[in-house]
């Protein structure tokens, strides 16, 4: 094979297509030639395949990548060129932002002339709204179903995300990548302009610029099939291939009075008010979820609430415990909250549902119109008199503190928006409320998309501030969230039975906004100092990804910073606190952190103890091995071998390289020829 290929190169020196053969040979020859042909694109983000009980969603490429001639989609005539009139199909579409919508993508999906799509991610040309999520998020795993509030189910009454185009839940047979780096996009554009531009409407001539995208996914069909095949591989194969992994990570929880972590089940004499929010988001592309309005607004508000409450609850603890929880995986059918409720039902958690007095959830609160904030409640559970009284009480307590805000309730027959509270209601009629900035449908026009970032939340700084000054600058968004946090903190304190005289000390600090952009001086986490804003996609958990997801760790350490106390334990004592008899490993966790940064160095490390814990957030369906379960989230993420992208020139018409199906038929003909030759040998015996 080596010799044959080298001879071909010598004989057909001008045809670059044969040089592919040389790269099959070992040695120095291959890498230098390969570098002369291919330009690797490193800053791309793929769309990957996810499964559910019945469908596959996301994108798939061929096992050896999909190749196509580059064409930039800027105008309608480009769309016609790609889909019908261009002479060099299949095309690799470089899609400008304005064209990344449902109608164009569905036309691409139905066409056989599209080898793949690379979407340019930028704010220029961005439409007024873009949400690739469905119009009714998590409709099958919430509380409303045919047996509970059937007229409210499936968003019959209120369409929560009317701008949703459902692209994230479509199945594409070609790869879709996102180009986030402007410099790289320039390289691609230059290649296109140099070779692929149409001159006066006539077709461009060879050599043409082409792009190849590799994102071959292992999983197919649905979750049941994928888990069955993984199981077969693990049992019978020498080299097992895992096809998919369940989405999993950790919830973060803490409480004003520490709870004994080793005592599972009902906690005696504990009546708990749960304050919850979600910790994750998603978008069309893998691991991209800036989720500013969707998630960060809730996280920051709850963190500010905790910060405001912690000094007062230390001095004058209310009779009821306040349990703060950040649920991971809520974008994918409530992974974290369903797991916590499941554990509570089976007495496998520090508290159970009998301990829960009421619940307050913070939904999307960043985009308040004017001063209004809405309290959503569940009309079906309120038909029960005692629950109704409790919820009305809760609403009254919230209204006591709404000086800067205008708190309203939606009409009585409106269901709850998608929220973790729905999973609690599925099991028990707990009184509770969900706070949100929207009445009927979301104010978030970029729900669960790449564009739900700081700009969507109107976080803007005056242009002349340095990054350190930006850390302490109070933006309007920060002030708005601080108002909500103050309201929540005070009403939680009253709800927990605290005394009114302590209320004036509870105020949230708008500077808490630094949490969105930067890491606090006191808590420096090496692996969090990456570039760009934090991404809130749930990911695959510690088995696959290494340590705990960075955002989960981030929130955990921030909470430890806000609610914990400094101890004087040494590092080894901090890691084994059971040896020290003043410390209690059941009530607290111990963190070895570095101290505040000063000008010269990063400060002395010390041991902090806090009652902050992580609890596993993986769907109960994967523990019960019920992969087709309609009651829990069953969304795994496919595995893959390599994901990459590269561009290269095609020098002449070569059916082997430009058309994937031609490669298949070439292989078949070679095989047939081989058989014929072999058969001829046999007849001469």
């Amino acid at each position: 094979m080596y010799v044959v290929c080298i001879i071909r190169v010598i004989m057909v020196s001008s045809s670059m297509s044969r040089v592919m053969c040389v790269s099959a040979a070992a040695g120095v020859l291959s890498s230098s030639v390969e570098q002369k042909i291919y330009v690797e694109l490193n800053e791309t983000v793929p769309c990957v395949r996810l499964l559910n009980a019945t469908h596959q969603i996301g994108c798939q490429s061929s096992i050896s990548g999909d190749t196509g001639v580059l064409h930039v989609l800027e105008t309608e005539s480009d769309l016609d060129w790609i889909l019908s009139s261009g002479p060099h199909p299949p095309y690799m579409v470089i899609m400008e932002t304005a064209f990344f919508n449902r109608s164009v993508m569905m036309r691409m999906k139905n066409s056989s002339r599209v080898a793949g799509v690379a979407v340019i991610v930028s704010k220029t040309g961005l439409a007024d709204n873009f949400s690739p999520h469905t119009t009714c998020p998590n409709q099958n795993t919430g509380v409303y179903s045919a047996s509970y509030g059937s007229d409210l189910a499936n968003c019959n009454v209120t369409m929560w995300n009317p701008l949703g185009n459902g692209l994230s839940y479509e199945d594409f047979a070609f790869p879709v990548f996102a180009l986030k780096d402007e410099n790289q996009t320039q390289v691609i554009r230059k290649c296109y302009q140099d070779h692929n531009l149409r001159v006066n409407g006539s077709a461009p001539q060879y050599p043409l610029c082409a792009m190849q995208l590799f994102s071959h996914m292992h999983a197919a069909t649905d979750t049941v099939t994928c888990m069955r095949r993984t199981d077969l591989q693990n049992r019978f194969s020498i080299n097992p291939e895992v096809l998919c992994d369940p989405l999993s990570d950790f919830n973060v929880w803490t409480s004003t009075r520490p709870l004994n972590n080793s005592a599972k089940g009902h906690a005696a004499n504990e009546s708990v008010v749960i304050a919850a929010t979600r910790l994750d988001g998603r978008s069309f592309f893998w691991e991209q979820a800036p989720s500013a309005e969707g998630t960060v607004s809730g996280i920051v508000t709850l963190l500010a609430t905790i910060q405001a409450l912690s000094p007062v609850t230390q001095e004058a603890p209310p009779p009821r415990n306040i349990f703060f929880s950040f649920f991971q995986g809520e974008a994918f059918d409530y992974i974290g909250s369903s797991k916590m409720v499941y554990d509570m039902e089976r007495n496998d958690f520090v508290i159970d549902l009998n301990n829960v007095h009421s619940m307050l959830e913070i939904g999307q609160v960043g985009l308040r119109r004017g001063r209004s904030l809405w309290m959503h409640s569940d009309p079906v559970s309120r038909q029960n008199k005692s629950v109704d009284t409790e919820v009305s009480e809760e609403e009254r307590k919230l209204s006591l503190f709404s000086h800067a805000l205008s708190l309203d309730q939606p009409s009585v027959s409106q269901p709850l928006p998608p929220s973790s509270f729905q999973r609690f209601l599925r099991v028990r009629g707990i009184p509770g409320l969900v706070l949100a900035d929207h009445n009927t449908s979301f104010n978030n026009r970029y729900y669960e998309s790449l564009y739900d970032d700081a700009e969507n939340l109107n976080v803007t700084y005056p242009p002349d501030l340095s990054p350190d000054e930006q850390l302490v600058y109070e933006t309007d968004a920060a002030k708005s969230l601080a108002e909500v946090a103050t309201l929540v903190a005070r009403s939680l304190y009253i709800q927990a039975g605290g005394e009114k005289k302590n209320l004036n000390n509870i105020t949230a600090d708008p500077k808490i906004w630094f949490l969105h952009q930067h890491v606090s001086d006191c808590v420096r986490l090496l692996w969090f100092l990456g570039s760009g804003p934090p991404q809130f996609y749930i990911g695959l958990g510690p088995r696959i990804h290494g340590p705990v997801h960075s955002v989960t760790r981030f929130v955990q350490y921030i909470l430890a910073n806000l609610t914990g106390t400094v101890t004087n334990l040494t590092e080894s004592q901090c890691q084994n606190p059971s040896e020290v008899n003043t410390e209690n490993k059941d009530l607290f966790s111990y963190f070895w952190v570095s101290g505040p940064a000063s000008v010269n160095n990063t400060g002395e490390p010390f041991c902090r103890s806090a009652s902050v814990r992580l609890s596993k957030a993986v769907s109960p369906a994967f523990e019960l091995l019920e992969y087709g379960s309609p009651n829990y989230s069953i969304i795994p993420q496919s595995r893959w071998k390599s994901i990459r992208a590269r561009i290269f020139p095609i020098f002449k018409y070569c059916p082997l390289l430009t058309n994937h199906t031609s490669m298949e038929s070439f292989r078949k003909w070679t095989l047939m020829t081989g058989f014929v030759v072999q058969g001829h040998k046999w007849t001469c015996l």
Binding site: Q60, I63, H218, A219, T225, L232, E241, T683, L685
Partner: protein
């Protein structure tokens, strides 16, 4: 092995061995038998052992055609319907292609 140099009894016994061996789920033995002894059985001038060789070749050919028909049918059905069979298809497969149904 050169059949030209073999005495007829040996040719017959070789043919018979291949014929009997094919019954052990080895249709390729029948294929080889047919291709190898075809000239001997039908194109050479008659000799004593030839009628028996002819009958072995005919029976081998019938067995071969039967195997080819069964295998072709099964392979076509399996390739076409494996994805639709779901669980059964997966349990019947030795290697399942990644990323497709």
């Amino acid at each position: 092995m050169n059949l030209e140099r073999m005495p007829n009894e040996e040719k017959l016994s070789l043919c018979r061995r291949y014929y009997l061996g094919g019954f052990a789920f080895l249709p390729f033995l029948w294929l080889v038998n047919v291709l190898w002894f075809f000239k001997e059985a039908f194109l050479k001038p008659a000799y004593t052992e030839q009628p028996q060789i002819k009958s072995y070749i005919k029976k081998s050919a019938m067995g071969l055609i039967l195997w080819v028909a069964v295998l072709t049918t099964w392979i076509t059905i399996f390739q076409h319907f494996r994805a639709r069979w779901g669980e059964v298809g997966d349990y019947l497969s030795f290697t399942i292609p990644l990323g497709t149904a």
